[in-house]
Symmetry: none
Subunit: 144 residues, 4 copies
Amino acid sequence: MHVTFEEAQKAIAAAIKKAEETGTQMCIAIVDSGSNLKAFARMNDAWVGSIDIAVKKAKTACYFGMPTGQIGQLSQPAGPLYGIEHSNDGLITFPGGLPIVNQDGILVGAIGVSGSSVENDHIVAKAGAEAIGLSDLPAHPWRT
Amino acid sequence: MHVTFEEAQKAIAAAIKKAEETGTQMCIAIVDSGSNLKAFARMNDAWVGSIDIAVKKAKTACYFGMPTGQIGQLSQPAGPLYGIEHSNDGLITFPGGLPIVNQDGILVGAIGVSGSSVENDHIVAKAGAEAIGLSDLPAHPWRT
Amino acid sequence: MHVTFEEAQKAIAAAIKKAEETGTQMCIAIVDSGSNLKAFARMNDAWVGSIDIAVKKAKTACYFGMPTGQIGQLSQPAGPLYGIEHSNDGLITFPGGLPIVNQDGILVGAIGVSGSSVENDHIVAKAGAEAIGLSDLPAHPWRT
Amino acid sequence: MHVTFEEAQKAIAAAIKKAEETGTQMCIAIVDSGSNLKAFARMNDAWVGSIDIAVKKAKTACYFGMPTGQIGQLSQPAGPLYGIEHSNDGLITFPGGLPIVNQDGILVGAIGVSGSSVENDHIVAKAGAEAIGLSDLPAHPWRT
């Protein structure tokens, strides 16, 4: 199951609204459950370097069905997943990427946000994801 | 000078309207005058393989300030630009990518469309570009 | 909708059987409808260079929902899609890749075969795809 | 000397059996002694992001003839192999990849598993490797 284009647009609109409320300029990416890009928006004055980070955050959250920051906690030096960022053409494992889960607990895609502090990136991503679904995963089985 | 996010949204909306009129399912990418992604939309049921092609068409049109199909005419075997597709992490040189030029003749970005025949891709790209500017370049100098 | 692992195994077994009947040594890849690898098999004595070709054929067939050879007819010099192989990290556009379509006309994945002549590659891919579905696409809408 | 396709199939079947016993959903890759992919399986509901990690674990274990986790101990900050993950198009150096060694002490390939905790990944990889050989290397010389 995949996020639809209409849902992706709705999520981006909600993320932009939250970004404006927080006075930030964000790049926002939505991928479907196969981690393929569905929609993308770069607000005016957002960092050019955030384009790829937003996309990679969305892909990372989808690849493993969890918030990017959760992977980052495991990928620190001496952590169990140290170096996982070298896989899949580059992961981004700090906060700002969240899975998007539908009402039946199915992963339908993910959102990635980059452009400010990781705290703000996370807040904006959460606003986007929750405009169309949940960002918390139920217990297994939940995958697409 | 760069296309604004509001202009990018307007171009994508116009492109989607034209795609719907032609009964096609498109991927549509807008880049700014630095060839960096500004906005992207994948309509429902558009080919997954068209994501990258739409983005590359937009970048290609911006890199050289001309329609992608015009480059493709020069990159055929025995042509002066044979093999140019190997540059810049991959160009797409068949129709569907157009520069976006403002009223002062300045290149402000480009649009790339993929998802149907190259004729349809071109028609949809043209509708998108012309919603916010021109797709024909004036004589030099025109660059940003 | 995605091909299941059990279906992927069944398709590979059928492809191997056909390869043995034709006296060939093949690499066989199955991807799901997001073009992500589901299963892969390299028969003994198959070319090492065919690993990547089989995977790229499967991805190519899935990306555009059509036989790889059909794309190759359009991507010849002076053809409308000349140079499309530069997209998506490299396409393979000669025969040997086929979409896998279920009984409802939904694209659920694709198969890619490499290791012999393109005629043999196609025959083996067809045997694999048809063990679990159709390789001919209905009229639109058919996409996942 | 290389692992045969029949052995690769046997190793994957044993790994899947162990994954089912542990209630996990795994990606499992087998490479030959040249680090070239021989067979691959993605169980239903396994993470899409684990495809590349499983393959990279198998390649990493084969490239250096040792368990991936052993390399990871050397690649930590201030360690002698810090940053080795940047080589060979990306290594994965946490547990889940193991060499496969035959009865004569010859490296014939490697297995990589990804999809759960690194402890589970290792257990499943070990079950796969030991279905067809040893995963402990004898003293040098042992290479193919």
